[in-house]
Symmetry: C2
């Protein structure tokens, strides 16, 4: 089973690495990082680059597509080559997935119209504008389409997807290896629980360019 994780300038690193880490525990899986050009691809802060080992043109029929988001996602919504690749890959994929604002790229490619989906909480209105039905869950399955909320939710998505593909026990094993028993030091990870003035500050600052 081939899993393609798509990189582009300005992606958010944890969006990509979050699902990658549990999916590496899928027996026999080949995970390949892809981008328009092979080589290092910078995350949005500029301080980190992940290597794309293959070009989009070289990986045309992955079984699983994973699309991260990030501030760099906005210009990609007008990148016809990438959107065409997503549409083509989707015709053959078993699972088409995203983390954070990666779902806005799937939506821009026309793949989420009429489907239940999610994205970073700052991007839900944009998702709706593409005809998707924003859902309140952290990980949303709608047929073969799996979308996750902001940034860190990709870990939950990766484990849930691993469970669907390889069974609950394999996913539990991965969770144990990753010691994923989270203990956030604050209760500020959702706009429903974070201090209201912080939610408002982010809404004002970055309605259409969420950080994840």
């Amino acid at each position: 089973m081939q899993i393609a994780i798509v990189l582009f300038d300005g992606f958010t690193a944890l969006d990509a690495v979050g699902p990658y880490e549990p999916l590496e525990h899928l027996p026999g899986a080949e995970i390949v990082f892809v981008a328009e050009e092979a080589g290092p691809v910078r995350a949005h802060t500029g301080h980190l680059a992940l290597t794309a080992d293959r070009t989009l043109a070289e990986v045309t029929r992955p079984d699983v597509v994973v699309v991260p988001g990030g501030p760099g996602q906005t210009p990609q919504m007008g990148n016809g080559r990438l959107l065409e690749w997503l549409r083509e890959a989707d015709t053959a994929s078993t699972w088409t997935t995203s983390v954070c604002t990666g779902s806005l790229l799937l939506a821009a490619a026309g793949l989420l119209a009429g489907r239940r989906a999610t994205t970073h909480w700052l991007g839900l209105d944009t998702l709706a504008a593409f005809g998707a039905e924003p859902a309140g869950e952290r990980v949303v399955f709608d047929g073969k389409y799996v979308t996750a909320a902001g940034v860190s939710s990709g870990i939950d998505m990766g484990l849930a997807l691993l469970g669907r593909i390889a069974g609950d026990e394999q996913a539990q094993l991965a969770q144990l290896i990753l010691e994923y028993a989270p203990e956030p030091p604050y209760d500020a990870g959702s706009p429903h629980t974070a201090p209201a003035h912080l939610v408002e500050r982010l809404r004002t600052r970055s309605r259409f360019t969420p950080a994840g």
Copy 2:
């Protein structure tokens, strides 16, 4: 404030990216990925490389040192150049930190003797053999030494450290941006909650080379 995240062949990607992502929300911070040689450094699965932008020799006095773990950590415990760099960097650091079996490298460098610390649950005995006092918490502060448990705990560590450095509000803002309100699909992230046969399988398979 300069934050150096140390890479070596066979590290676990989430160990490094977990703390990186929240620490990127430290105002004015420069995060630099370092390794013995600059260039792409492969994570333990071989499917992903992160770029080390600077060599260890070029970054000698970071304010914060972050050491990830991973299966590749075991041979590094005999890497005198790396251990010497850790000791030198520690003489000037404000915070010396690790994720997963990265603490075994700190311990091998002689930095954790007599200190409360933690590591991946499979590595706690090894940590004790270096004279550290294994603690049961997910993130352990002992003075300027901050160690985290397995793999995914680096996110919790990064947020907690951000809070100590920049204040609770900045850390809450980062948590909200990262939408870190985790919902693991299983309750198997700790040896205390995972199915016993899976815990036993991992203990048998990899006592001294945990995957994280």
